[in-house]
């Protein structure tokens, strides 16, 4: 208060002025508090991610990161721009309920599509934040703007673009992974040209939007941009086949973070920028790791339409025939083995066979056989997919082996059991330079003394390639659904 305040000079205007000043200073104190809380939230996210790097500390890391989220949400509710809490309360409760039910009901085999779906929702939310910011900006006098208009418009456009691609791209990934549409790559003539054209029109729309300014005339352009972004997400994921999904999911994960960061620029919110960017960076790293594990470039994964044709490559080069083996004979082979390596792939996830595989593994261990599991980085449909499934089935953590150590020990292995994996054990990747997957690091199952391949039928794998491994002299095919095949084996062991 003003120390020289004289009660005699009291006037209504003076009080009004003083009230304005005091609300303003309260407002800025509040803003500082909110921003400090955002900094703490960002620190919690960073610590959370750091702790995720070891299985021991990871649950704590996840909790810490969730606490950061709770803090960020709570202090946001103090924001003075918020006028009504009804819609917020209903929205949060509804969303939380749906999310919680989905999280508890999903089976571990369905994890890739669940993560894809959550990803898509995050992207859509960022798109909607951008869209709503458009309306807010349109109703704002030029003087009240905190950033240059062109900048605000550009970042709104980016939030809508990235959010839109993330949303429909993730939905496509979800549909493909859950088998609601074909998991194969869908290619048609002029596809690349069409995608390029859509991308070019989007770029043009962004420029037109920024040049038109925030007027009514820009609205159709803005909505057009939004629709094109959604279209590009569909078109972009269409030519990508099921086996390349680990890359796509990692990339969409990165994009959902970047969409949040763009939305953060649009509303000048630091915690959105930091958290979104952390996710963007982590998704990008995973994308690169997945690409390396397939010895392909990101461009090749995204644009080549890999795996669209049913037969290509080295079909003629494969010689010999596939030799089947029955349950009884396989029992004798496994019974006599000293060292068995299981090599799981997506087929094991589809058949939900992980629990039976673990049971078989335990029986073998009781029989004094050394058992371990060889996990290829891109086995399954998302990074680390097989690890999650086997962890769910209570397979001991130390039996899960990565590619390099297991390959070194493969020659001393009596039996390699390939369960629903195909391309990741295809020897053509190391010795056939004409093969499309040449150069991809594989698990050297063919070096084991005997290879048993569990397979539903005689068809080629996801990539459309014939797998030379199936025709090798030391390979036996054990046909049938992985779950019932292993069930039969387990009963065979129990009976004897």
């Amino acid at each position: 208060m003003n120390p020289t305040f004289d009660p005699d000079s009291w006037s209504p205007e003076a009080t009004a002025t003083m009230e304005t000043i005091s609300t303003a200073s309260q407002g800025s104190a509040l803003l500082t508090t909110v921003n400090l809380a955002y900094i703490i939230a960002a620190i919690l996210f960073i610590f959370g991610l750091k702790l995720l790097s070891s299985a021991r500390t990871a649950p704590r890391g996840n909790m810490i990161s969730a606490a950061g989220m709770l803090l960020a949400v709570t202090v946001t509710l103090l924001d003075q721009q918020i006028l009504s809490y009804t819609a917020l309360a209903i929205g949060v409760v509804l969303g939380a309920a749906i999310g919680a039910v989905a999280a508890y009901k999903v089976r571990m085999t369905g994890m890739p599509e669940m993560v894809a779906l959550f990803n898509g929702f995050g992207g859509m939310a960022s798109l909607l934040v951008g869209w709503s910011e458009w309306h807010f900006l349109a109703g704002l006098p030029a003087l009240a703007m905190t950033q240059p208009l062109a900048f605000s418009q550009s970042v709104i456009a980016l939030a809508v673009l990235i959010g839109g691609i993330t949303f429909t791209g993730s939905l496509m990934a979800f549909l493909k992974l859950s088998g609601r549409i074909t998991g194969r790559a869908v290619v048609f003539r002029g596809q690349k040209l069409l995608n390029l054209a859509v991308a070019a029109v989007i770029l043009g729309a962004i420029v037109a939007y920024v040049l038109t300014g925030q007027s009514g005339a820009a609205y159709p352009v803005f909505i057009g941009l939004l629709i094109l972004a959604l279209t590009l997400g569909v078109l972009g994921v269409l030519p990508i086949g099921g086996g390349d999904m680990p890359v796509v999911i990692a990339l969409l994960n990165s994009l959902s973070g970047l969409a949040a960061a763009a939305a953060g620029f649009a509303i000048s919110n630091t915690v959105l920028i930091v958290a979104g960017c952390l996710v963007g960076a982590s998704g990008l790293i995973l994308t690169v790791i997945m690409c390396k594990a397939m010895n392909r470039s990101l461009g090749n994964v995204l644009f080549s339409g890999f795996g669209s044709t049913a037969s290509s490559g080295t079909k003629g080069a494969v010689q010999g025939e596939m030799k089947p083996i029955g349950c009884q004979d396989l029992y004798y082979v496994l019974e006599a083995a000293n060292r068995v390596v299981f090599i799981p792939g997506y087929g094991m996830a589809v058949a939900q066979a992980q629990h039976l595989v673990r049971e078989l593994g335990e029986i073998l261990e009781h029989n004094c056989t050394e058992v371990c599991y060889a996990i290829h980085p891109v086995a399954g449909r998302m990074p680390g997919h097989m690890n999650v499934l086997l962890a769910e089935a209570d397979v001991p953590y130390e039996q899960l082996m990565e590619m390099e150590p297991i390959n070194a020990a493969m020659e001393q292995t009596d039996v390699a059991v390939v369960i629903g994996a195909n391309d990741v054990v295809n020897p053509a990747a190391s010795d056939d330079p004409t093969s499309p997957i040449y150069g991809m690091p594989i698990i050297n199952a063919h070096q084991a003394k005997t290879v048993i391949c569990l397979k539903r039928g005689q068809g080629a794998g996801f990539s459309g390639l014939q797998n030379e491994l199936f025709f090798r002299e030391n390979t036996r095919m054990y046909y049938g659904d992985a779950k019932s095949s292993i069930q039969n084996l387990v009963s065979e062991f129990k009976e004897s």
């Binding site: 996210f45 960073i46 959370g48 991610l49 790097s53 070891s54 021991r56 990871a58 649950p59 989220m69 960020a72 949400v73 946001t76 924001d79 918020i82 809490y85 929205g91 939380a96 749906i98 999310g99 989905a102 994890m111 669940m114 993560v115 959550f118 929702f121 995050g122 859509m124 939310a125 960022s126 909607l128 934040v129 910011e133 900048f151 999911i249 959902s256 949040a260 000048s268 919110n269 630091t270 930091v274 958290a275 960017c277 952390l278 996710v279 960076a281 790293i285 995973l286 996990i375 980085p377 680390g384 690890n387 962890a391 769910e392 209570d394 397979v395 001991p396 953590y397 130390e398 899960l400």
Partner: protein, 98 residues
């Protein structure tokens, strides 16, 4: 000036993200992905502001409300599913040495 500061924050966060994640072992890639996916639900903060200030403007209210619902699904679902997965990994670690 604000603009430059925001960009500065963005660039630093990108480098920090690369540093943090490059050390995660491949066994934990799925939980890492769903955990970071939950963090990307931070857009809920923008959604809350968008929905909260849309007083009387129906379209803005609908946009904001949908954003809040979707972002909440992303955040709550993401953290819970990550927690579920990690607890399975945890059992293994306790079971191993004993």
């Amino acid at each position: 000036m604000i603009l430059i500061l925001l960009l500065f924050v963005f660039v630093l966060a990108a480098f920090l993200g690369f540093e943090l994640i490059s050390k995660v072992p491949s066994q934990l890639h799925t939980p890492l992905m769903s955990g970071s996916n939950a963090i990307s639900g931070i857009t809920i903060v923008g959604a809350l502001i968008a929905a909260g200030r849309a007083d009387g403007d129906t379209l803005a209210l609908i946009l904001g409300f949908c954003a809040v619902v979707l972002a909440s699904i992303n955040v709550v679902g993401g953290y819970l599913v990550t927690n579920r997965m990690l607890s399975m990994f945890q059992n293994k670690d306790k079971g191993g040495p004993s």
